[in-house]
Amino acid sequence: MSSFTTRADAALADPILKIAVERTAGTAQAKRAIAIDAFPDFEAARTRAAAIKDHVIAHLGPYLEQFEANAIAAGAQVHWAQTADEACRIVIAICKAANAKTVARSKSMLGEEIGLPHALEEAGIGRVETDLAEHIIQLADERPSHIIWPAMHKTSEQVSALFKAKHRTPHEEETIAAMAQSARRELRGAMLGADVGISGANFLIADSGAVCTVTNEGNAELSLVPPRVHIVTAGIEKIVPSMPHAIHMLRMLARSATGAALTQYTTFYTGPKRPGDRDGPEEMHIVLVDNGRTKMREEGLAEMLRCIRCGACMNHCVVFRQIGGHAYGGTYPGPMGAVLTPALDGLAPNRDLAHACTLNGMCQQVCPVKIPLPTLLKGWREKSWREGLEPTSMRAGLSLWAWVATRPALYRLGTAIAIRAIRLLGRNGWIARLPLAGGWTRYRDLPKPAAQTFMNQYKQEQRK
């Protein structure tokens, strides 16, 4: 049994996890639907957003150079990293040069992707996660399970117990508001005392050299304004040509992620503190990280570089809703994670992620930049097949299927027999047990198949 299957199995058997995931993902799905209904023409806006990203990805080199020149002109220092390790080394070197004892981090998925939390720990630099969800998982010593709500897998009861064990002055009242206040008390001083603030970037504005962050908590600004040094780690695909392009993407991002018209705090940072400024960092460093992105662009995954990390695809994914984010094993969960993880961490250990998909197409339908996620997943399946990574039972089964499927009469006979056999096992339209499919039917029922095959029904319809 592969590791993904083991993790998914464990997740399916955890009833608390399902409740926790359902509470947040369900709310997110409902709020997004309301926001999109109220928007004048979301479909056209998606097409435009995809075209903007495709344009940037086609001209990524020149745009990066333009961004770099403008950021330097504004006083920032720009660094380039080909790999995750190189990016971490650059960040640690800047921290060491600044004599940093503690850093305040504002949630960044790129930071997670390159393993920055671990690298800081190894370098002996204290790390304060300032996003509430990241704070929760830092205390619990866990990994994020969602790109917008990293602590989605935790119930309020679990968070309450955690804060009571770890906070200096924990909440007394058992309300979510009181828990949030407990974290506010705990984190405020830590943010103000940090030597370095580290953030990601939601967008890099090429024509001004500005870095854009969005948060609802205001923790980015509280983490990035007081320290002497601000470090940004950003994937090279985060570029947009100008502010109006960023604005279009921001409208898409907020609605797709949380159903809001805009995040509460949207900030554009252009270089360090200026003469006479009362606050702001003395130094601003921007680390532009490739970590597999140029390769994705070259090898048929350019469309994936459109991703603006909104999380809509996972909120709407039936598989994610059943197993949560941790089962995916990588930094990024859900449909976008199933496409990204094999690119970032290799196909062989992650080949079964492409099978964690019903190909119902929901992810593609809700994606604000129209990424053909099911097609990209199928691409991984095919590659895995070509490279001989699929297990022999699957290969044997599929070869037999291919042999029969290319002989239409035999195929029709076979499926008709199978349908009759499966219907015998069904009760009230649902099948609770199926020989050879115990892994699927243990935690959920399989719908009883229709009385006839689709092809039979289709032919009858045609005859009418």
Binding site: P241, I247, L250, T267, F268, T270
Partner: protein, 210 residues
């Protein structure tokens, strides 16, 4: 080869001309705003549960201290205020207040001046400068914002000024909130729990005129 050279070598392409990028914008899809009635459009967004701000209207700048005093009294807070070092506020009589320019870690009330505001979203737009620090606006519990009515614009595209950008340009749309625990909304996560906008009907001089 440096990392920079190695990355750029793989991303070679002709430089896009600016008209290509501009053409992609065309007429962007965005919520409709009645441009003849920007104030009421803005106030409607400000009152949405997602923004959750209160407001007051004053005729002239000299009415500002009384309006702030009213708000703080309603909130049962003392007349202590973190005030930006903006010379345009010198015309006001602040004698009833204890004023300071640097915010305390647990600051109660901070005043800030918005350069503009956006009717589309109910956003307040700020920029850093020697007379406009940023941190006090995030540390405070009550964020009190002075906004000249004439400065309200329709869409987010109207927010940035053309030309060189300030050190930080930021949009505030509501109070600090979180949905990180079970998707339940809580206000006052890290920053302000209350946002109060004081709209000024009179003309307000631009900072550079001082």
């Amino acid at each position: 080869m440096s990392a920079r050279a190695a990355i750029l070598a793989r991303l070679q392409s002709p430089a896009p001309d600016a008209s290509q990028a501009a053409a992609l914008l065309g007429t962007p899809e965005r919520p409709a705003v009645d441009a003849t009635n920007l104030l009421s459009e803005f106030l409607a967004r400000l009152a949405l549960p997602s923004v959750n701000a209160s407001h007051d209207v004053i005729a002239s700048l000299t009415d500002l201290p009384a309006a702030i005093a009213r708000y703080l009294a309603d909130q049962h807070e003392p007349l202590t205020l973190c005030c930006p070092p903006d010379p345009r506020l010198d015309v006001c009589d602040w004698s009833a207040f204890t004023l300071h320019a640097t915010a305390a870690p647990d600051e109660t009330a901070t005043l800030a001046i918005a350069r503009t505001a956006i009717a589309e979203t109910g956003s307040l737009i700020f920029e850093t400068s020697p007379t406009a620090p940023m941190l006090p606006n995030f540390l405070t519990l009550h964020h009190i914002v002075l906004l000249p009515v004439a400065a309200i614009a329709a869409h987010l595209e109207d927010a940035p000024l053309p030309g060189p950008q300030p050190r930080a340009h930021y949009w505030i749309t509501g109070v600090s909130g979180t949905t990180d625990i079970e998707g339940t909304y809580v206000r006052g996560a890290h920053g302000p729990r209350f946002l109060h906008v004081i709209l000024l009907r009179d003309e307000f001089p631009h900072i550079s005129d001082h």
